[in-house]
Symmetry: C2
Subunit: 530 residues, 2 copies
């Protein structure tokens, strides 16, 4: 009887599948999802109790996933912060200093005025019809708001947009990319997302089929990649950056690790390159980038280019070049290379983390693969419109002659030059510490100093079942209120120990931070020096 | 030699794993992810070319996933719209009318003024220091903006927030939930998200381990559920709503389908209930909800309550009750029932789809399971702050005595009463059509009329390899420009055919729509009547 029901259901369902989407109702390889015919005469059997959801019974991929920059040390810092509020003076410091994450405005960086003017006007367009508005907003912000609203169907900033983002905004971003690179960009290649993270997840979801699929990632890496690969059940294939060469990316290392992975039947699908580097801060040379492009091209790897720090360059002799520009300058088109470039409004001089804006530019993937990406994007309908607007603004900031141009340039340059000064001050401070070596932060927002820890300290850490770098970071936090992330959260050459610190504390606070840091480190070494 | 390298790497890595997050660098069950030691002396072998990414080689779960409300018929509508722009008069209608998706502001619904005032002020707080602002903004919007900014550390609306959302905003939402239900709510139970969809994905990601894990979903269902289950590789276990009983949810049907699934060794983990219903528009009775709570409690199922239409009730004899209120009124606490309630700023009378705001309230899951949810949330850092602010506003709208109260109530009630009128007009129109029956839209934003199609029409559809309901929807679009979604995108009893239409076109357009609809349907029936 049930057999019949199954056949009937399958036959009829098949009928209704044709060019429809009901097939989505039988997901998973198991066809056992659809033997269910409605309202049959079978009597429902009495059912027994089943156990509730526990950590032991959740998706093991979720359990396996880790995200160090918001991990255990941050929870510990939050506890200390509450204690400081409830019991002032309960710790040897007055405030917690969050150097664990690139969150500039949380540490006092001010937003770019022009961007916020435009966002406010787009959020409440009624302002545009009022005379008082001209006293409160710059004329080019008002003009830009009109321009943007006219790009939005019915000027409805409260409506879902196209799932790739508002077409007019994507066209504006394409213009910005073309001006940056000197090579054309297409609105159809751009997917606007709530920050860069969802874009990275989308690509991992597209590429990873099983734990036999590998993604080449730098070590050290930004934990978004290890977390996303874990969540999607893939295999992170590490390639090690060479700390001795300023965190250099060596092609022979890429080839060696790719070969080792393939020897173990891991199908490596993509290469992640973070440029400027996170947590390592290096800026790749044009020559190096060309080698990487050739490597991906020869090996049929998708190049996943994390370029969210493209505006954060501090070394005079370094310049950001997008991988799109490099590959096009080599004469390669989308036919030669599959390339995805990630950009975000959270970094750069804008640092608008809370707005969750970003995009990925997808080139060199076939239209039918891009349709699959669009489909995944459409399941979440669209990214937030304010974030979409902001993404178009950071790629098209005020131009010479605009009323806001001078003030915009002043705000931008002050942020960037201050970041460069802070990077140098922290780098020098780390290098002045006994047993600490720190490469230059050529770009991005971080330093990743190496801790040459005494054996005594390593033993003390092992005694409390903690990695030595995590032990150091905890001691630093408890003594100074400074929150840094242990290198083990990013990956490091086994047996070496690092911490990642952002360069984001405001300049007026840097001297106090450095003296706290030095005092702690000296005491730590005095306690553990072999 | 490599064997040695592997052992060395593993040993050292294991050392650095202790209480660190480096384990995330070896995701997936395969331990083969980490035999890679850096800079060994092995020479890199020369490597051959590998094929690029194709639809055949992407993650099959992505391929399987379907999302009908933005599916093929919508792409076709977008093509027609472009043709209308390039060649006016090229079709028998002047505009495309998108009734495929609940996107009110895309069809002319205006946002609630107070909400937009507050968002604008929070986006550009400098306005709060200017005298002109008092001429442009209501005094309670200014007060609310100050209140919200004071809830945000350093008033930094451009900073990443706590990964669950800004604590003060979650506390405000908890107050709103408590006022709605008459039972307490906790900020720690609330996870703010970019609309409700990411929250649903998070829960599916947590619960689904393999295709042997099942989620009970209503048929017809909102395709987000089938899409998310497909993307996470699970099994959708359908339970059929009874169209003859106003899309009634029958407990015997739940029990029968759960039993059938368990008989096939599918581990059913959760029950999805959409109330008010999408696409079916029914509002559950308190009695029915109590039965559902008992069922989940007895069977150890997580109750996933999609309550995003809680403000959209049109039937005088119906009232929305949250499942939290129902379960608490039965004397059950979190110890008795695992319950997740989804809410969004995209629906209700606010309809702020583009802001991507929403939350889930998670009760009855252990703290360590909630920690895992927090971890997944933290990988995307946080939801957008404007959406977080808006979510707190819709759960705490202006109160009696506030300057904006009168205008807020007027805006809200005009939207809701107009929606009720539009629902009735469309319902009557569908029921007036030959061979069409349509249940009442007691709530939500949709009608799901059944098409009793002539055999000739079904054969015509099969001749072009199309489901009969998709065939009807395409003919309707080509003849009238009205976009509806075939019932097969939501699931329906095999052999029955439906379409889903929103009730969202503005009232002044309804008469024209109805006459176009009737004229098309009569011609269609004349063409195919048996």
């Amino acid at each position: 009887m049930r057999r019949l029901a199954i056949d009937r259901a399958k036959r009829l369902l098949f009928g209704s599948f044709l060019s429809s989407s009901q097939s989505s109702l039988a997901p998973g390889p198991s066809s056992s999802c659809f033997p269910f015919s409605p309202f049959s005469s079978e009597a429902a059997m009495s059912l027994s109790k089943f156990p509730p959801i526990t950590v032991e019974t959740i998706n093991p991929k979720v359990k396996k996933c880790e995200y160090a920059v918001r991990g255990e040390i941050v929870s510990h810092a939050q506890r200390l912060q509450q204690e400081l509020q409830t019991k002032p003076g309960s710790h040897p410091f007055e405030e917690i200093l969050y150097c664990n994450i690139g969150n500039p405005q949380a540490l006092g960086q001010q937003p770019i005025t022009f961007f916020r003017e435009v966002l406010a006007l787009c959020n409440y367009p009624a302002l545009l019809d009022r005379d008082e508005t001209h006293a409160l907003f710059s004329s080019d912000a008002i003009a830009k708001a009109w321009e943007i609203l006219d790009l939005i169907p019915d000027r409805a900033t409260g409506a879902y947009s196209h799932s790739q983002g508002i077409k007019g905004l994507r066209e504006a971003i394409a213009v910005g990319i073309a001006e940056r690179d000197g090579f054309p960009a297409k609105a159809d290649d751009i997917f606007l997302t709530d920050g860069a993270s969802p874009a990275v997840h989308m690509m991992m979801q597209l590429l990873i089929r099983s734990e036999e699929d590998g993604i080449l990632c730098p070590i050290p890496q930004y934990p978004l990649y290890s977390a996303s690969i874990a969540l999607h059940g893939g295999c992170l294939v590490p390639y090690y950056l060479d700390e001795a060469k300023g965190w250099g990316l060596e092609i022979f290392e890429l080839k060696k690790q790719l070969q080792a992975a393939r020897t173990q039947n891991i199908c490596v699908r993509a290469l992640v390159v973070i440029n400027p580097g996170n947590p390592t801060g290096q800026v790749l040379s044009e020559e190096n980038q060309k080698e990487i492009v050739e490597f991906c091209r020869n090996e049929g790897l998708v190049l996943l280019a994390d370029e969210v720090y493209q505006e954060n360059i501090y070394a005079d002799n370094k310049k950001f070049n997008s991988f799109k520009k490099i590959s096009r300058s080599m004469g390669y088109s989308g036919d030669d290379l599959s390339l995805v470039s990630f950009q975000s409004v959270s970094k750069g001089y804008y640092g608008e983390c809370g707005k969750r804006g970003g995009y990925m530019e997808v080139t060199g993937l076939s239209p039918d693969v891009k349709e699959q990406i669009y489909k995944v994007a459409s399941v979440n309908l669209c990214s937030n419109i304010s974030g979409q607007i902001l993404a178009s603004l950071v790629m098209n900031p005020p131009k010479v002659g605009d009323e806001s141009y001078e003030s915009y340039i002043a705000e931008r340059d002050e942020i960037l030059s201050s970041l460069a000064r802070r990077a140098k001050a922290l780098e020098d401070a780390f290098n002045s510490l006994e047993g600490v070596t720190c490469n230059k932060a050529e770009g991005a927002m971080y330093l990743f100093p190496r801790l040459h820890l005494p054996q005594k300290a390593i033993k003390a850490a092992e005694a409390v079942k903690t990695a030595p770098d995590a032990y150091y970071a905890h001691r630093l936090l408890d003594a100074t209120g400074i929150v840094v992330v242990p290198g083990s959260g990013f990956g490091q050459v086994p047996g070496t120990w690092h911490i990642r610190s952002t360069i984001l504390p405001q300049e007026d606070k840097i001297p106090a931070i450095l003296s706290r840091l030095k005092a702690f480190h000296e005491a730590f070494m005095d306690e553990f020096r072999d």
